[in-house]
């Protein structure tokens, strides 16, 4: 008998929002993210994208709107960084179709946008943790057709931003990185947020990343939302202390 992981979670994520799901290990962050991404189905309840049930969209249609960056990517075979990014073009190609020039252009633009163009022909396996994560984010951008938008230093006017219709889900994107690479990923995500207007939803227990990237935070504890609001209002010693089950006084220096 499987246990319920999430209880009565209700979230509204507007276009272009940068939302962080914050919580300790086992709080249901990853499950919530998998539900949003359509990788898991809810026992009961609904996940809607533009008012439509997410499971009613075809996998390919969904993949063109929403991309997922896992905590870590471990490969069985030696693909190059470019090949990994080109895999993002999967939902844009027919069953027996080979990548067209525009697919390669999208991949190169995504590599450029994430500062990994010089790594294109390197075996993915030989990259550092931060480089790997940036290449996987490039793959997500190629998937969402957003590489070019970032390169052009798109408009600040968020209503017209190229990424407004796109969602990027990141599951603890910095959890297996050391500080230097955490900062690399952090600054890249802020740039994506600001120049593309892309909707970012990330799960993390990294308070620094949450504050730096997210405009709104959802605090998740044992499968329940204990707070949901603007980052500044939610990142308080009292709430963070409650979330991680520590004294508010101990939480204060970390904020």
């Amino acid at each position: 008998m499987a246990a319920l992981v999430l209880h009565a979670v209700s979230l509204d994520i507007p276009d272009g929002a940068a939302v962080g799901i914050l919580g300790p290990n086992g709080s249901g962050k990853t499950t919530l993210l998998r539900l949003i991404g359509g990788a898991a189905r809810p026992w009961s309840g609904h996940v809607l994208l533009d008012g439509r049930e997410i499971t009613s969209l075809s996998r390919r249609a969904l993949a063109r709107r929403m991309a997922v960056v896992p905590q870590e990517t471990v490969l069985t075979f030696d693909y190059s960084a470019l090949e990994i990014v080109l895999m993002g073009r999967y939902p844009h190609l027919g069953a027996f179709e080979v990548e067209r020039p525009q697919d390669r252009a999208a991949a190169y633009a995504a590599l450029e946008a994430t500062g990994t163009a010089a790594l294109a022909d390197r075996p993915f396996r030989t990259l550092s943790g931060g480089e790997k994560q940036r290449v996987v984010i490039a793959s997500a951008l190629a998937q969402l057709d957003l590489g070019q938008g970032l390169q052009a230093q798109g408009p600040k006017d968020t209503a017209a931003s190229p990424g407004r219709q796109s969602v990027l889900l990141l599951d603890e994107p910095t959890a297996s990185l050391d500080l230097k690479y955490q900062l690399e990923v952090d600054s890249l995500l802020r740039r994506l947020r600001d120049t593309l207007g892309i909707t970012v939803v990330l799960s993390t227990h990294d308070l620094r990343l949450a504050r730096s990237v997210c405009k709104r935070l959802v605090l998740l504890s044992r499968g329940r939302v204990i707070a949901n609001g603007p980052t500044a209002e939610v990142l308080t010693p009292a709430l963070i202390g409650q979330l991680f089950d520590i004294d508010a006084a101990a939480a204060a220096p970390m904020l």
């Binding site: 991404g37 996998r59 993949a63 997922v68 069985t76 075979f77 693909y79 895999m87």
Partner: protein, 326 residues
């Protein structure tokens, strides 16, 4: 460009091997005479040896080698395990058990023979493994698949020993020869019998090439990029298993082709399955034709089973691969 060149080179290698191998053998035949149009086939001994005695064997080697190599690629991609072989999931053990039963008890059977019995054994093994791997899980659990396959391999091996124990001496001898993997094919019949399954399997392989690339990232990451993971896994499992069953029904469980060929090809062309699959197919075909030519001649007039040659080459290569990885 380089990739197309390597696929072309492997294809050419396969053609050359198939044409050249029949000229190697105890009775020398003359190239010019074989293809001479002046003499009727009935009077042209060289052409008869080429077309009737030796070409079927070369074609069978090509079919079996290409199929095993391609199935190896697909299993390695499906299981995300570079050390998987076409035999990892119990297909060959099922096929072998079927063949053993036919050799021992099948003397009076009206239909079929060792080949069809091995195919039936292979299909039964595939169904059992599939039922186990999907019993507790939405989609296929590759972990259960691997465990079920390994367990079934061990169980079938025990049954094979049992059947061998109750066979008489000549049956045991035949069974052992079959288990070594032998391409003693002297007509086009076995090739034509296996061909439909192999063709269907390769249609599946062609569709699978790109999904297999993405499955390497893991099922969740592949799904997030729009891959229908359950469908791709099912097609990979069934096509590769049936292709393996068909290949084993022709040549017995010839070892190592399904692992060393894909690895050699990956060293040359990288990991993209759209290149690795066709290149491995052609290279595997050429490789087994060459191994069979060696097997027929190295200890002439004795003809060795080709499985001994592939094992002699494959065993050390496999070890080198393990050491190289670590």
């Amino acid at each position: 460009m380089r990739r197309a060149f390597i696929i072309g080179l492997c294809f050419l290698g396969m053609l050359v091997a198939i044409v050249v191998a029949p000229f190697i053998g105890s009775t020398p035949i003359d190239f010019g005479r074989v293809f001479s149009g002046d003499v009727a086939l009935a009077d042209n001994v060289d052409a008869q040896i080429f077309l009737i005695a030796r070409l079927p064997r070369a074609l069978a080697a090509a079919l079996v080698g290409g199929t095993l190599a391609a199935a190896g690629v697909v299993f390695q991609g499906l299981l995300r395990n570079p050390l998987a072989t076409p035999y990892t999931l119990g297909v060959s053990a099922g096929a072998s058990l079927g063949a053993m039963i036919a050799i021992t008890f099948g003397a009076g059977w009206q239909v079929g023979g060792v080949a069809s019995a091995s195919l039936v054994g292979a299909i039964l093994a595939v169904l059992v493994v599939y039922a186990l791997a999907t019993a507790q899980h939405r989609g296929i659990s590759t972990t259960v698949l691997l465990l079920a396959g390994v367990t079934l391999n061990a169980f079938f091996s025990a049954l094979i020993l049992f059947v061998q124990y109750i066979s008489d001496f000549s049956q045991t001898f035949r069974a052992l020869r079959w288990l070594m993997g032998d391409l003693d094919v002297a007509s086009y019949g076995p090739i034509l019998a296996a061909l439909p399954l192999v063709v269907v399997a390769f249609l599946g392989f062609a569709w699978l090439a790109r999904p297999l690339n993405l499955l390497t990232l893991g099922p969740e990451a592949a799904g997030a990029r729009g891959v229908n993971v359950e469908l791709a896994q099912r097609i990979a499992f069934f096509t590769a298993s049936l292709a393996t069953g068909a290949a084993v029904s022709v040549g017995g469980p010839i070892g190592f082709v399904g692992i060393i060929v894909p690895h050699l090809v990956r060293l040359l062309v990288g990991a993209d399955h759209r290149v690795v699959l066709p290149a491995s197919t052609f290279f595997g075909a050429a490789f087994l034709v060459a191994c069979d030519a060696i097997a027929r001649t190295v200890l002439a007039p004795i003809e060795l089973p080709v499985g001994i040659i592939t094992a002699m080459i494959g065993g050390p290569f496999f070890l080198w691969l393990l050491v190289r990885k670590s």
